[in-house]
């Protein structure tokens, strides 16, 4: 037991160091882009995981929060010249409140009714923004190009600063989840996922905790929206509220394995490069072959690896443990 603890600690430190140092050697802009996407989607997957993996409310409409967040900061910046960092924080607060309000009715739904409601939410938000003249309707908003730097949250010469900001976000959310897993909040979340009746019988106010979960998830997702807006320097409904964002987020978590911290990170680290690379190699002209591969990949995962990568890891661990025990029995 002590041994595995030590190895996992060493592994953790190595992984942290690698994620900080190795990217410094990545010079190709496209590779940097992939790194940025990996951390961004790891955070998004983590936010989904709080709601879907821990509380068991499967959302396929995270783009609603993502898009809203991207527009909050962008609009404030374009219209009032407000610093994107303030926009970033406000995006988090506003989408969290939005998630809470939406959650009031929606968290009463269960299972697929909830999932479809989130799809509906995503579609409604997209249509609203497509027709909202004030925020540029279908054309969206262009962010003003300003001097690059941490203060302006714009970087032009290299994409790496975005990567590190995303990594910091990931670090913070991982710390939060690590704490959550060991606190009442995490236990209550899981209890609600496992059995709502038992949760209620244990004195848990399940409505309240579901609302907390959706607010946290929405807030983080909204901040990620700001992040992508600053990265692309424009927002547009078709881009920010795209249904594929919602699907990809859910897939990352599922592919990696839900209900644990490592899953979404693994999922993002593997799925995003595949999707970005296949797009770059084969699909830049819109032939669709990249998404074809992606779709086939999803099907294969669901059929052959439905527990996610963490499921595989757990199986291997269990087998190893069983082997050790068997050996122990012989001695």
């Amino acid at each position: 037991m002590k041994d595995t603890n030590r190895t996992s600690k060493t592994l953790l430190i190595l992984a942290v160091l690698a994620s900080i140092i190795l990217p410094l050697f990545v010079k190709a802009r496209f590779m940097q882009h992939i790194l940025v996407m990996v951390v961004l989607y790891a955070v998004l997957g983590q936010a989904w995981n709080i709601l879907g993996g821990y509380v068991g409310l499967v959302s396929i409409g995270q783009a609603a929060f993502f898009g809203l967040g991207s527009y909050v900061s962008s609009y404030l910046q374009v219209e009032y010249g407000i610093n994107p960092w303030i926009g970033f924080a406000l995006a988090g607060v506003i989408t969290a409140v939005f998630g809470f309000l939406v959650g009031l009715p929606v968290t009463r739904l269960r299972g697929r009714y909830f999932a479809i409601a989130t799809i509906a939410l995503g579609q409604v938000m997209k249509v609203l923004f497509e027709n909202w003249q004030r925020v540029g309707a279908a054309t969206g908003l262009m962010l003003p190009l300003v001097k690059e730097g941490l203060g302006t949250l714009q970087f032009h010469t290299s994409k790496l600063p975005y990567y590190y900001i995303g990594l910091a976000m990931l670090g913070i959310i991982i710390l939060f989840m690590w704490y959550m897993e060991r606190s009442r909040l995490g236990y209550y979340f899981k209890a609600i996922r496992e059995n709502e009746d038992v949760a209620a019988a244990m004195g848990i106010n399940k409505t309240l905790y579901k609302l907390i979960a959706i607010a946290i998830s929405a807030g983080i997702t909204g901040m990620c929206g700001t992040f992508l807006a600053q990265y692309s320097l424009y927002v547009e409904p078709e881009y920010m509220f795209n249904h594929n964002i919602s699907v990809t987020i859910a897939l990352i978590a599922v592919f990696g394995g839900t209900g644990n911290i490592l899953g979404p990170i693994l999922g993002s680290a593997i799925l995003l490069p595949i999707s970005e690379l296949s797009r770059a190699w084969m699909g830049s002209t819109g032939t669709g072959i990249d998404m074809m591969i992606y779709g086939a990949f999803i099907v294969l995962i669901c059929v052959y690896q439905p527990q996610g990568l963490m499921g595989v890891v757990r199986n291997i661990q269990a087998r190893a443990r069983a082997q050790v025990e068997r050996r122990g029995a012989h001695v």
Binding site: R184, Y187, K190, A191, N195, V198, A199, M202, I204, N205
Partner: protein, 247 residues
């Protein structure tokens, strides 16, 4: 745990469409007392539990806890107040370990993790399941799950505990252990309402018995009074006891 507590049920009525599942049921139970609730299948025992703990809304009548009207409060509020229950069809948090299951209950009075874990360990020790602490609940046997459910309820530090057929399916030794446990909970000052079909197990420890039939309370009294009540015998005990004796 030893604070005085009293649950008073007055005229509770519950309908499922045309079916009158509970008809004007009244009784009370207080600290240091074991109230057995018996009645044939479909009599409405589980429905009564559901009404008292907020899982079903009553159509009439009131439930009072220590003078406070808690009728139709939500289940979590009722539990927070100190009224806990187990389910007839055993319900545990399948994907979590035994310890985690009990911790979920313990968090109600211990918001921080360390005391919650200590509390959970203490409860597990008490019900004799500490050696199973790290097992996933899904991997437990049915009697173990039932015991876990009791442990979870106890971890919420209830003043009134309602057990719905917690002894069903136990071996005689296990049932005797369970009876012992129920008795010691009473001695600590809990009020217990126990639904049980296993008469041999419940009658010796009950202080008072109420009998439901088709949603109506047909008798109430000490175990001796109940087993000699002609109405009860004809409605419920008669043929059952007879059969038991034959077997």
């Amino acid at each position: 745990m030893s604070k005085e507590a009293k649950l008073v049920v007055t005229g509770v009525t519950k309908r499922f469409g045309g079916l009158l599942a509970l008809n004007d049921v009244s009784f009370s139970v207080e600290s240091g007392e074991i109230l057995a609730l018996i009645g044939p299948n479909g009599a409405g025992k589980t429905t009564l539990f559901n009404c008292l703990t907020g899982f079903l809304k009553v159509d009439g009548g009131t439930v009072e806890f220590n003078g406070r009207n808690i009728t139709n409060w939500s289940p979590n509020q009722i539990c927070s107040l100190g009224v806990a229950r187990t389910f007839q069809v055993v319900q545990v948090l399948q994907g979590m370990t035994v310890l985690e299951n009990v911790m979920v209950g313990a968090y109600l009075r211990n918001p921080r993790t360390t005391p919650a874990r200590e509390k959970a360990v203490a409860v597990l020790e008490r019900v004799g399941m500490l050696d199973r602490a790290d097992v996933l609940a899904v991997n437990l046997t049915l009697p173990e799950k039932k015991r876990l459910e009791v442990a979870m309820s106890l971890a919420t530090e209830p003043k009134v505990l309602m057990l719905d057929e917690s002894m069903a399916g136990l071996t005689p030794t296990e049932a005797a252990e369970a009876s012992q446990m129920i008795r010691s909970l009473r001695d600590e000052g809990l009020a217990l309402i126990v639904v049980e079909h296993v008469m041999e197990a419940i009658m010796p420890i009950a202080d008072r018995v109420i009998v439901l039939e088709s949603g109506t309370k047909i008798a109430e009294g000490s175990p001796e009074e109940i087993v000699s009540n002609p109405r009860v015998i004809s409605a419920y005990l008669g043929d059952k006891y007879a059969k038991r004796v034959v077997n």
